[in-house]
Amino acid sequence: MYWEPEYETMKRDELQQLQLERLQATLHRVYMNVPFYRKKFDELGIDPDGFTSLSDLRNLPFTSKGDLMDNYPYGLFAVPLREVVRIHASSGTTGMSTVVGYTKNDIKTWSNLVARILTEGGITKDDVVQIAFGYGLFTGGFGLHYGAERIGASVIPISSGNTRRQVKIMQDFKTTALVCTPSYALLIADAISETGINVNSLSLKYGLFGAEPWSEGMRQEIQERLKIVATDNYGLSEVMGPGVAGECLERKGLHINEDHFLVEVIHPQTLEPLPPGEIGELVITTLTKEAFPVIRFRTRDLTRIITGPCPCGRTLVKMGKVMGRTDDMLIIKGVNVFPSQIESVLFAIEGTEPHYQIIVDRKGALDEVTVLVEVSEAIFFDEMKKQRELIDLITRKLTSELGISVGVKVVEKKTLERFEGKAKRVIDKRRL
């Protein structure tokens, strides 16, 4: 099932032609309308008329989150405010929020691209879609809402929070698709088991999760506990919001909507473009945004590009699941560690609950990592021997995965903090 087959299955050479047309037009527009880009191009001696191929993109300067903050709130808008019909702000996972705007056409494009992603994830107009993303300045709620409405699905704009009520509505309204963060999906799964509802009695079939990195292990857990097909989708407010990329039912990477976004993966330190397959920082150039175009925006998300044909028939390249953010990357004893690596180890081990926390501290000159993980009541209270074995197993697996030794502590079920929006898994005490 495709939403826009003419674009989703476009021949690569036709797509590249379209990308070049749109890139050239975007460069002319930002040069004319955004003083920030004009100044930057002039300083670097870049002639917007000089772009003759997509590979010329690498000669353009990057735009960083810092540039967006420096131009807070409206400095990077490419149209006058009277043409802006919507203003969102980034969810501020890290630091200060940034402000983005949308014209009428931008909202239309956004709805359409999210409709693509929902279709990829199995949603049709017959579905009842429960959107448990926060509505408000955060783009998650509205973005998915527009897309689902565009498809013609029945949308329940419940927003995040009040987990018991989520479950009740899910049961009463016969929700067939759940949309939220993966960590919140697990929280909902917990609430379902607590209320003693048989998951099989629910109408739930699909789940589309995003807004934070999550592992394959977490996917398995969500799929098994909610009895759904869970797909990942990706977006960020600085670029548009959800709708940048989404997984098809093959679940082997997220198709990037390349007719609207030009992506590169760069080495986070040398900033050199990396070949497909190599992990680095995702950089996005918008091709059709009117109000808030961005040129080579450094997303700080780490992923890789997956080329090659997809059995679903889409010709759009895929990106791997986001492994983490460049600023989530922990450097422990000189080794790069991502929370997602720890997560995938934990999820593969029998007896652990899908809730964990990573605490980083410094004792003297040495970094120390402790992983707190919830375990089932049986293990926590009754069987000390089993508990010991479990800790040993986790420690061994983590050490071999990460290449550094970490401490492991098991904690009682429900003692770690729960998250309705984006989860915060790492507590780095070194900076305090």
């Binding site: 036709e14 032609q17 379209l18 070049l20 047309e21 749109r22 050239q24 037009a25 002319h28 527009r29 004319m32 008329d49 000089g50 772009f51 003759t52 149209v79 009277r82 043409e83 014209t103 009428k104 056409n105 239309k108 494009t109 059709t288 009117e290």
Partner: protein, 245 residues
């Protein structure tokens, strides 16, 4: 069908088109809109070889036609309906049409030319009525129909039209554009260049906005119509003034 990359063109020392990249897919109507002097006509002239491109690539059916003569480009299936009609005034309507079939004639397909002529009379009954009349005595709208029919006689894969609405009354313009839509519905591919942006975007599937030799916007025609920059600059609509009333 047509794929242009980084096309540069102009007259003498004057550069009109600067690195224009655009395409037309089979079966679609694409409109290029822009103000006077933006480079619209230069673009069509360069595509059909009346003007030599200085740089860039023009692929027609995957073949680079940049260095070909106008005749060869016409033979490949790229026909032009020129600005201001340019019908042969002292010749009859029928003679004008037969001349349009020259490409077919050269291929020794005289029977086809006859069949095409009948088809044109079917498509444009008015031309049948006036077939013996001198083209110069037709009204502007009728001449435009004739110019379109003459281009169709070559059985083109791509029809390029330069300002077909120029100097015509609004009702006649509507008639012309209805014919353009009909051509598309019958499987033809049309590249339309227009100052009358509203009419051109109303019939088009996609469009490009050309400004001082550069494409600054590409999109579905309906999206371009909804773009306020386009509305202000090309549709003569100042929405802010409208709301103030």
């Amino acid at each position: 069908m047509l794929r242009i990359k980084n096309l540069q063109s102009g007259y003498g020392k004057l550069t009109v088109l600067r690195k224009v990249t655009m395409h037309v897919s089979p079966g679609e109507i694409v409109s290029i809109i822009g103000a006077n002097g933006a480079g619209k006509t230069t673009m069509l002239k360069t595509i059909c070889g009346l003007l030599r491109a200085r740089d860039g690539e023009i692929l027609f059916d995957k073949r680079n036609i940049r260095a070909l003569s106008t005749e060869s480009i016409a033979f490949l299936g790229c026909s032009m309906v020129p600005e201001g009609r340019q019908v042969f005034a002292p010749m009859t309507v029928k003679e004008n049409l037969v001349l349009g079939g020259y490409v077919q004639y050269r291929r020794h397909l005289q029977d086809e030319v006859r069949r095409d002529l009948d088809r044109m009379f079917e498509l444009f009954p008015l031309l049948k009525e006036r077939q013996k009349q001198l083209a110069g005595t037709l009204s502007g709208g009728e001449q435009q129909m004739l110019a379109i029919a003459r281009a169709l006689m070559a059985r083109p894969k791509l029809i390029m039209m330069d300002e077909p609405s120029m100097g015509l009354a609004p009702l006649v313009v509507r008639d012309i554009f209805q014919n353009v839509t009909r051509l598309r519905d019958e499987g033809n591919t049309v590249l339309l260049v227009e100052q009358n942006a509203r009419a051109a975007l109303a019939v088009a599937d996609r469009g490009y906005v050309l400004e001082t030799g550069r494409i600054i916007l590409e999109g579905k025609a309906e999206d371009l119509l909804a773009n306020r920059e386009v509305q202000r600059a090309y549709l003569g609509r100042d929405l802010d003034a409208e709301t103030r009333i």
